[in-house]
Amino acid sequence: MKKVLILTSIIVMIFATFAVADDVIKIGVALPMTGNISSFGQMVWQGVELANEMFPTVLGKKVELVLADNRSDKTEAANVISRLINLSNVVGILGEVASSNTMAGAPIAEKYHIPLLSPASTNPLVTQGKTYTSRVCFIDPFQGHVAAVFAINNLKAKTAAVFTDVAQDYSVGLSNFFIKDFTAAGGVVYKEYYQSGDQDFSAQLTDALSHNPDVIYISGYYPEIALMAKQARQLGYKGPFLAGDGAEAPELIKIAGSAVNGLYYTSHFNADHPVTKIGQEFVAKFEEKYHTSPSALAALGFDDYLVMLNAIERANSTDPVKINEAIRSTKNFEGATGYITIGSDGNAVKSAVINEVVNGQFTYVTTINP
């Protein structure tokens, strides 16, 4: 068995080397294509793949994407970054999605001075103290701030029940920032906790609803948000929900149905209301290719690729260090999710969109600028 495997691997590797032409620029893509967060990885990949089809060349050379699956596993997340750098000799890497996995890969990218550009890791710790790790998404403090501002100004909320997924760093951080800004503005919060994979929230909801909150803020991911919204409606809650970008997925509506009508969430993107020209083009091409409208993650994957490509172009070089410098001096770059500026700390400064679910559709409400 082992021998056969070694043999096949050698044969395949030989063919793989033959297949590689010289005049390509290799960009690594490290995503969770299998495992428990594979849906996120697959959505990002749709965007990256489309971007590559639309803009297949840079500096007159063809771009070759090398996709590596980290199996939603942390050890593998570190391994694939090393693999892409050491074995595939990529000039830059797009990825990863989950913040904890990006943090596992980041030290290796630092060591080899290869830019790692995350499409969707929003935990503030990800880029902290790093030179080669950047991202095209905004970070959780901003998202929490936007949600708090929106709750107070637009929803006129004075009390909020905040649901935190204690198993997700993303959710813990986001709730923390929301609560900080909401209480600073005089709001009152009731904290409730749950865990990813939970499917029954009736106990927490029953407790939260006994306080009659003006709004329910859920900072986790869509599978739990959908179930929670559904159960909250069944318990008679009629007010609005507010959530982070983890809510964004067509499955949210498919699972929760009409229960999520009146759910607002902060997001990176709205497919019906793209804020830029390239955004409109992206939506049209995406719908043509995948026969469905793009998710925010797909748009971020798309932008991730474009920012990297743009950086290579401005650096006018395939030297990873120069590309990294170019990434970190991205100014008002027109992406599908808005105008992206990446600071020297590696964090993107850009506007956030607030969407609402109306009659089973993600509907654009407003844009909040930083």
């Binding site: 428990n36 849906s39 204690v166 994979g197 318990l235 499955e251 699972i255």
Partner: protein, 300 residues
């Protein structure tokens, strides 16, 4: 009616419906353990496969929902039958730990299989008639019809199980085998058939639980069986693994424990599973055979 009483009624119904599902899955664990002394780690994944079968029977083969559910339940029974035949039967006379390890491997296999064949993206399970989610008002508590259906189906299935075990020949053989395999086979019972039948029965129960679960929490994904499987397993141990009454009682106990802890001590929600495990450990320490003692610990 005041809020407190309302919340209590709500929580009691939530506990009953969660407890029913745990009990349905726990029965599968306990029947297999009773006969083979095997912790069938793959049971939670059989539950997951059951929901996928139902999902595809209805979305791809356009069966009406009741037929789709029925077909899915039967196919899951067949799956349980084949798993026993392929993976567990060859190891029947091996050390018990070997079968346990194989069961862990089987669980791994079913999850990977689901990822490869069905894909990792969660699918929404909106294939059941809409009136299931109608709300019934009890006082001011809003209970979905599905909760009553879940509880009703569970009790109905337990009645059937009781009938099979105590009124049919195969049930008699099952009970006999759980006491002593060699003697029972000497008495003329076909041990292989009886064991297969046990797996089929356990798997169909898991499929029913899976379908009810997927209607309650309407999404299916390859790893959905892990947590309920583990919880139901704990339930089976609490009740006394090997004992069917024990699994039922354990399932409801665990359902109540989980809902009530979160309901009355919301800040402890993060530690909820710790309570389940602590109860498990305490029971193992002080009454290792669970509430319904059936087996002596060790035969010399």
């Amino acid at each position: 009616m005041d809020i407190g009483l309302n919340a209590l009624i709500q929580n009691i119904f939530n506990s009953l419906s969660l407890g029913s599902l745990y009990a349905l899955i726990a029965v599968g664990y306990t029947m297999v353990y009773g006969i083979l002394r095997l912790i069938n780690f793959a049971h939670g994944d059989i539950f997951m496969m059951g929901t996928y079968f139902a999902f595809y029977a209805i979305t791809i083969f356009f069966l009406p929902w009741y037929l789709g559910f029925l077909v899915a339940i039967l196919i899951t029974g067949l799956l349980g039958f084949s798993i026993e035949k392929i993976a567990y039967r060859p190891l029947r006379n091996a050390p018990r730990i070997s079968s346990l390890i194989t069961a862990i491997g089987m669980s791994f296999f079913l999850e990977s299989f689901a990822v490869v064949v069905f894909g990792g993206i969660p699918k929404s399970f909106n294939v059941y008639p809409k009136f299931f989610s109608d709300i019934i008002l009890i006082g001011q508590s809003r209970i979905p019809l599905l909760t009553f259906i879940t509880i009703g189906v569970t009790f109905f299935l337990f009645l059937i199980l009781w009938w099979i075990l105590y009124k049919t020949k195969i049930g008699l053989a099952m009970r006999a085998i759980s006491v002593d395999i060699p003697t029972t086979s000497l008495m003329g019972a076909n041990v292989n058939n009886v064991i297969s039948m046990t797996f089929v029965l356990g798997s169909t129960f898991a499929a029913v639980a899976g379908i009810l679960w997927a209607m309650k929490y309407p999404q299916v994904q390859p790893y959905m069986g892990f947590t309920p499987g583990l919880k139901a397993f704990i339930a089976a141990v609490i009740g006394g693994i090997g004992s069917i009454q024990g699994a039922i009682v354990g399932g409801f106990l665990l359902g109540f424990l989980e809902i009530m802890i979160v309901g009355f001590f919301p800040s402890l929600a993060g530690y909820r599973d710790v309570f389940a495990y602590v109860v498990l450990v305490i029971i193992l320490m002080f009454r290792p055979t669970g509430i319904f003692k059936i087996y002596s610990e060790q035969k010399v």
